[in-house]
Symmetry: C2
Subunit: 321 residues, 2 copies
Amino acid sequence: MRPAPVWLMRQAGRYLPEYRKLRASAGSFLDLCFSPGLAAEVTLQPVRRFGMDAAILFSDILTIPHALGQEVRFVEGTGPVLGPFDPGALQFANGRLDPVYETVRRVRKDLPDGVALIGFAGAPWTVAAYMVEGGSSRDWLKVRRMALGEPERFAALTDLLVEATIDHLSAQAEAGAEALQLFDSWAGLLPPAGIRRWCLEPAQRIAAGLAARHPSVPLILFPRGAGALAPEFAGVGACVGLDTTADPVWAAGAVQGRAVVQGNLDPMLLVIGGDAMERAAREILSALRCGPHIFNLGHGVLPATPPEHVAALRRIVREAV
Amino acid sequence: MRPAPVWLMRQAGRYLPEYRKLRASAGSFLDLCFSPGLAAEVTLQPVRRFGMDAAILFSDILTIPHALGQEVRFVEGTGPVLGPFDPGALQFANGRLDPVYETVRRVRKDLPDGVALIGFAGAPWTVAAYMVEGGSSRDWLKVRRMALGEPERFAALTDLLVEATIDHLSAQAEAGAEALQLFDSWAGLLPPAGIRRWCLEPAQRIAAGLAARHPSVPLILFPRGAGALAPEFAGVGACVGLDTTADPVWAAGAVQGRAVVQGNLDPMLLVIGGDAMERAAREILSALRCGPHIFNLGHGVLPATPPEHVAALRRIVREAV
């Protein structure tokens, strides 16, 4: 039996000294995302250091609103700040994302054989959440109100985002991405009917759009917080990413028969390391060992993570057969 | 068939003009919680206005840290701010909560026949989260790190909170509460092993402690964010409260055979009202109609809620048989 392949959400980023060094020499965060040389280097850093089985493109889910013409800035310590939300003015200018596709090409060229390159986009619901709120939010009241109370208006925004997402992911596949992940980080803000309408259905349309253009590129869905609804996503993508709360024993039965399962170590255990991390990682590997499994976290790497814990985790996964 | 009984989490509070009027004349938020005359009046307001089937004691989950000796303040616009967390200095002084039990007695005396009085406490994990973080938090990194990385230290805090919670809930039952709810609002921050150890197991110990003293008082558990793990709580409490994300069709099969199900309209739909609210409420009632069901929200009433939407919801539930 071969060990589960492993990569980690946010494996490139602030917890790595080589990232912080490069980051200090770049301009704004978006400048970094749009500088193919630097973004490719950042993408490759964790692959080089840890021997991950996949690289995930270094970029951001808010490149789509940027390409739609909504102003996007990243404020140190605050997070993303978006300009006024004017749905009538939005129009997807794919060309604004050319530097992202150039990054994909460069990474593909420099990646060792056998290391997959994963492209990604934010899912329409999650991207819409930032666009409507103008940034991150504690309660996300505006976007929840729009989705549940003005479904026609919200459907128009979702349609626009579905098309932009298909375009953006297709262009990544054309540039060399071998798998694509759709991050729906805020799926858990919605009630079940909302998850089906604003997360699941757009994912189906995106999957269909991609299948028509790139039938051999698998799609990974990550509906964070979808709880017991996560298995419904197994009918749509080739792979379902579990969040930290999901029980892998349950997912082995509920998801693994129909899709690859990805996940789902709590990133806090990667901060803690040692026996607690090892035990938890082994439990996940064991629960999912009889079906297809990509080892990952249940959410992104935390900035406080010691890189040596990531190296230890890499070894644990490789040796646990 | 009788209609499902209905009450709403945070049914007493800021969205009601009579509450805002009374609140303006009281001192701090904790002063209000500790003034039996005012707190009883606030508890009764929604019962009087809407004819709810149950009153829930007006109080706060942070009365327990207050009684343990940790400073608790409520800052307008910020939320709770707790003083330094010094586990060695914590000791439960039940007497500091006497005004709460006096509130319960007054409400019980004034409640119409057939209206139940529900007492409550925060669950140990959720209360510990506020105690360790010193208030609310975006990422709850400190308490997650302590729970997963220092389990022995965290177990000592949990033990203390389990005992305090049993005491506090027992005293409410003695004062006339006919059901008790344990709010575990932050269960979803933990991985499955953490939910079982820091949410489920303490709930079992609290349930056992209460059953020994008050065998006829049912316990309602509300493990918010527990996702597909929520059914595991059905073995512990008489009733499991579903959060907004849970699918009631799923819960009918997974929970209702072993426990009453409570829930779970999205509170945003109560802000929106009209057809969207009615349709969603009817779907929940229909999904859970073949087993025991208490109609409620999946989270607390939002401050922006128009009271007339609550009145409309009350009618919808009563008439949907």
